[in-house]
Symmetry: D2
Subunit: 146 residues, 4 copies
């Protein structure tokens, strides 16, 4: 579904500009599932270099996935935003081979300040983590329009 607004740059173009040359999300094997104004969905499979000796996923990998969905969602208006403050609740462990999906949605946007919630679930829909992120808009554009 395409969301219609008068922004000449689509949310998909913003995501492409962000992720197109992002070596880190490529290294982690993240896949953008969907993106729209203020929301996104990103997935990642837990590899054997993302777990500890007990095959439990490193919390940093789960955070990185959620943080990427957050970044895609809060940059979807072609206005660059940076993360200022994030919180993460770890609710269930994730394991080797799990397919994690992070769904980001805008909770609030006012002036230069945005607040987003990102839920991470595994392939069975079990909640792995709840992430909340506060971002702040900086100058410029992701994709130049002039």
């Amino acid at each position: 579904m395409t969301e219609i607004d008068d922004n000449p740059i689509s949310a998909q173009q913003c995501a492409d500009a962000m992720l197109g040359n992002d070596a880190c999300t490529k290294m982690m094997g993240m896949t953008l599932i969907s993106v729209g104004r203020g929301h996104s969905k990103v997935a990642m499979t837990i590899r054997d270099d993302m777990v500890n000796g007990h095959n439990t996923t490193h919390g940093g990998m789960t955070f990185a996935l959620a943080d990427t969905a957050f970044a895609v969602a809060c940059n979807s208006y072609n206005l660059p935003n940076v993360a200022e403050f994030c919180t993460i609740n770890f609710l269930n462990p994730a394991f080797l081979g799990d397919l994690l999906t992070a769904t980001a949605k805008q909770v609030h946007q006012q002036g230069r300040n945005g607040l987003y919630d990102i839920m991470v679930v595994n392939q069975d829909g079990l909640k792995v983590a709840e992430f909340r992120g506060k971002c702040r808009q900086i100058r410029g554009q992701l994709v130049a329009t002039e």
Copy 2:
């Protein structure tokens, strides 16, 4: 410096048990600088697969470093602890080639609940992030003593 207490397993042995077969921290190239009861220091150099197209470090990489220092510190008594809730304030960006050091210290420990602060700085001592983590002790031992 060795901290003397009556725990038969040293903080170093706990860290070795945790990190010895931890594929994820190896993949990220983390180095344990020091560890004691309730504290630790872990370092990591930002590689070209840890940054985005602007050579800025992915927030997930910074979080992963802080989270590792947190895990080493809160598991240093040979009592296994898991992270429940973490917050991170991003204070300055980190860039390709930066050497980040995360220093974890115990703020509070009571019953099964622990609270830790982890500061991440770059090679110039500039603060990159402040992380606070709440952990909860689970059953068992990291290194069996009986």
Copy 3:
């Protein structure tokens, strides 16, 4: 609307047991608007002893309202829960005379751990704050059934 389940004590009875002799919420003039399993709505009018010299509401008053809605919601199963960790984002100031309403909903409940989101709005529906709280169940019951 009554939610039907096999718990002999209703959410309303739990709320009555909590708030019935709670001197602090009475002092602040809070009113329970509604309660059900895992959710609640509590309102409060900002008085002249809840503001500073610029007639702006003290953040502690806004937090107290949200925290009360959180407590009512997370204790609605007749299982006593205590707040462990809370975060609050202040989104817009509240002023003398504003009628604030805090709406709490359960995000996650598993074992003894619960996670709740509480939104605080003013009489115009403007968001004043977003609160997230983690609670942990302790022993006992709010209302004895045996």
Copy 4:
């Protein structure tokens, strides 16, 4: 002890300007113990209208005390700051008659952004809560110098 700097308005003057006509902190009976650039100490005795039916202090009262110490500390440079995001870990309950002291210290200050840690202890030095607050400077001065 007086801290010497070239700011014509002292931290004490800033605190006086903030608290002088603050009806809310007066209502709660808070006392400013000390203040300097980037730090403060504020105390409050838990009254019978600050507790619930079990004589346990409402979390909102503890938060309000910590938030006040935070506000005094982050406004001590005569540059007005507002709280954006706060987290609080409740570590031990406080009870009727307890004398709580909140000690605020600056963790980071850069540009318009500040980060403060506030520890709340009771009269026995037992930690009641750890609070972390992020503030942002707005325009103007607390005490006009021109």
